[in-house]
Symmetry: C2
Subunit: 390 residues, 2 copies
């Protein structure tokens, strides 16, 4: 097991009705609130009204319309509002995009230069406004980590930044707030949870027993509860387990004692930056092709562990057959739950920028579980153009 | 899944050599340190000298000789030293007893009345000195929770107290510091880890999928790594996994979404308070008898889950047979790893106080997974007098 430090200051309030803690959490810091959110869904499902009612003694400035793949322009606008209105605390209501964007706004509000500096170098973040969030989508795990991923279309770059200062102070996780999440977003969110878990699971360190067991549990939770949530969107059992899976998949616990670079995320960030596709759909498309591409004598034992402990595939003695079956099941699970599984289905029907994007990933992928170069990435992207994962 | 709040401020530094963080952690609060420890083992294995060297710019007051089942008298003495020397921070070096005792010292140092008040009612703890610890035994999980269990032999009471203020500020977990732990303490410590996990696992809530999966993982880690640690006491793989198992078993994650009262701990606390036995040996003795006693139509499904997911017992279709096999394996695992498995083996050869102790447990056991009254407890204790778990 590798060495690690664990230090997660975020407080989590999990369960139906936990929004009751909101006034107390906000008042810890003051009454001038920047409320951030995306489209109008929080107005349709009543959360917006609930927040206004609970915080009626606060002065609320709004920043709405935060996009999926949130833009640096939005961060700049948020930071400007914080400075102009002397905001005490940011309240983000939404999914990963809104919360990610709000983290960087919180940091930029305490920074004199341009917000993009903070994305390019998280070490420049030396302070941030406190952030409270209400999660409305089980997916990114942003509710209990430091990560904020921001896109700058001017330079075609989607990049994550992080700092101890960007941990949310508190996250309110009410599974009932995800009852109205549409099927395609429920599936994409679950693919995101699985991808985070798989990126940490497929690493060289084999002796982090508890960490691997937790990852396998999270993956099995996704496999069990995604179909249940699609079948019955108001299943508290399904929605609560997916929500806790989201948080546990990326709060650090699935990398304790492991560590190492990721693969599908760096590639997907280029797809999103060039084509503005849904992050998790890109991950779902890439994952089985990446798995198949890196399957080798060196990696097969970990695939066998994945096959047995996640997909209950019996030990046939043929390790490669077991590994391939696990990859097939991964692919088929995404298909069965309605995810688009080729790049043309998400609007990418040309390989025009494949090499350009692949070159951009090279530095990070040199540190991946199986290091890949630009040619490898182009090959993986080509395999994403048609059905099947070979 | 039940609702819960998660808020664990303790920082964990895990891995060989992490003691390097000690000066920085201590200096966060000052230079006047109360160093607490138990017997002389930290002098024999070199940790004591390492601490002195790293903190040579500090003024260190020592409180040594903290007993297993730490006494309220020791807490009072520690609090007195803190007040007399205007201590800035407590450094506890040891296992559960030393750290538990130090938590209550930290609270008592900020309290005007008698320290026993704080054990009887944790709500009286409104402040505490900061506590840093260096763990030397994988067992109680105290390194990442609020619990402090203190014994008052005058009133024959062993009782836990807790407060948000008694979370350690930071815990240094270096698995190599457990290389010299003797076999019997290694086994007892692992039984403690398993007991914490089982107390949370055997609860009514069945839909906390990730929490249950984590518990099963921790139990499997204990089953895999205890024999490895006994075989090779300097196995980093075994010692590191047992150490992380200890922490994860009782930092709150194995009860998220579950909850409910414990059973073997309240009973064992009376055994320790009356007979000063080793806590975890009492738990190991009680656990299989408790399991057998509560096995019924109502609980059998959870035992089947335990049988399949922890002990890899195949589905034979006979649920009670599977459950009994799992209990038998639990009992045999403790036997195989050298734990005393009857009360006479730990010096309790009379049932004289069984009813008196059992009456003391009644209030807490009325809220247990399967509520038990004093007669039930006496019956369980009687079954602990001879070998076998029936």
């Amino acid at each position: 097991m590798r060495s690690f430090n664990y230090d997660i200051p975020t407080k989590v309030y999990f369960g139906e009705g936990k929004i009751k803690y909101l006034p107390e959490l906000i008042h810890t810091f003051g009454t001038k609130v920047l409320l951030t959110y995306g489209g109008g869904s929080i107005k349709r499902n009543g959360i917006y009204d609930e927040v206004q009612e609970l915080l009626k003694d606060c002065e609320i400035i709004e920043l709405s319309g935060i996009d999926p793949n949130p833009r640096i322009e939005t961060v700049r606008e948020g930071a400007r509002l914080c400075k102009e209105h002397d905001i005490d605390v940011i309240l983000a209501v939404g999914g990963g995009s809104t919360i990610d964007c709000s983290k960087v706004i919180a940091a930029a509000a305490k920074y004199d230069g341009d917000a993009w500096d903070l994305v390019m170098d998280g070490r420049l973040i030396t302070d941030a406004l406190p952030l409270v969030d209400i999660l409305t989508l089980s997916a990114t795990g942003t509710e209990m980590n430091t990560n904020g991923v921001i896109t700058n279309f001017d330079v075609k770059l989607k990049k994550g930044t992080a700092s101890y200062h960007t941990y949310p102070y508190a996250s309110i996780l009410d599974p009932t707030y995800t009852y109205t999440v549409p099927a395609n977003q429920t599936s994409a969110g679950t693919a995101d949870i699985m991808s985070h878990t798989l990126e940490n699971y497929f690493q060289e360190e084999d002796n982090a027993f508890i960490t691997d067991g937790l990852s396998e549990t999270i993956l099995r939770a996704c496999i069990k509860y995604l179909p249940m949530a699609l079948e019955n969107p108001e299943s508290y059992e399904a929605r609560s387990n997916l929500m806790w899976a989201s948080t546990m998949a990326l709060n650090g616990l699935t990398s304790m004692g492991k560590g190492g670079g990721w693969t599908t995320h760096p590639i997907e960030h280029y797809l999103s930056a060039y084509y503005d596709i849904t992050h998790a759909e890109g991950l779902a498309i890439l994952t089985p092709r990446w798995m198949k591409y890196i399957l080798s004598d060196k990696t097969v034992d970990r695939f066998v562990k994945y096959a047995q402990n996640v997909w209950n595939i019996e030990d046939s003695g043929d390790k490669f057959k077991m590994a391939e079956e696990a990859i097939e099941k991964t692919y088929q699970f995404f298909v069965d739950n309605g995810l688009p599984m080729t790049l043309p289905e998400v609007g990418i029907d040309s390989d025009e920028f494949f090499m350009e994007m692949a070159k951009g990933t090279e530095e990070r992928l040199s540190r991946a579980y199986v290091p890949l170069n630009a040619d490898d990435v182009v090959e993986i992207l080509n395999r994403c153009m048609t059905e099947g994962y070979n």
